[in-house]
Symmetry: C2
Subunit: 137 residues, 2 copies
């Protein structure tokens, strides 16, 4: 298990206390927290922590590819350390977010790992056919 500091150094990020604690939190608690949740969780331990630092750090980590930024359902951004591609399932009763590693066929599945699916959103990103043709070949 790579140490937090080593992960930061490998990505050319100076391992400040703030950065270490934020990455450590995301490695330990795989709850897909928002920036504010991370801030609230660390504020006790680090009373001078600024919310701007949390935002700055999350931006840096995301740009370096250490974190993934997610728009799940609401209008706030969630973050996670997990890098393997996977699916997200959020329960409408308990709000918990599950990571799923199954295949999902939106024309068939209505049950996955025992969870009942009532709604799905498949959002893809990339270069569209038209833009691909414009570039040349």
């Amino acid at each position: 298990m790579k140490s937090i500091i080593r992960i930061l150094k490998e990505n050319d990020i100076a391992p400040s206390m703030q950065r270490i604690k934020i990455l450590e939190y995301l490695k330990n608690y795989k709850t897909h927290p928002t920036a504010d949740m991370i801030y609230q969780a660390l504020a006790d331990e680090m009373p001078t922590l600024s919310k701007t630092t949390v935002y700055n750090t999350l931006k840096t980590f995301t740009e370096k590819g250490i974190l993934m930024a997610l728009s799940l359902f609401g209008n706030e951004i969630r973050y996670e350390y997990n890098t393997q591609p996977h699916i997200h399932f959020q329960c409408i009763k308990c709000d918990k977010i599950y990571d799923l590693y199954n295949s999902f066929d939106h024309y068939n599945n209505d049950l996955i790992d025992g969870h009942k699916i009532t709604e799905y959103h498949i959002n893809l990103k990339g270069v569209c056919k038209s833009c691909l043709e414009k570039v040349g070949d």
Copy 2:
């Protein structure tokens, strides 16, 4: 093709001018606009239109099931009239949002309808296994 007014009446919504124009816009322009985009588009024609009315109306329509509210990638909510289940693809070059009706297997596909996929988010919603068991059977 159902008239706008008829759609509203069928859903027990009084067909005010504002509601007609907003639904008409969403039926005509399938660009998945935000509340602000709709407001900007209609403001010329309806100089007294309030942004609150746009938000209120979108909320009413969504609750009645006439519209679908979407969290695609950013932190703003997009709306669409299209009711059939489908997939969204946004181009990182031209920002256009495409509706796709294919199947998508995140373990295989990297090309769909000629669009090159570089990132995907599959977000499911429902009742988790644990909450299903709590209720009884």
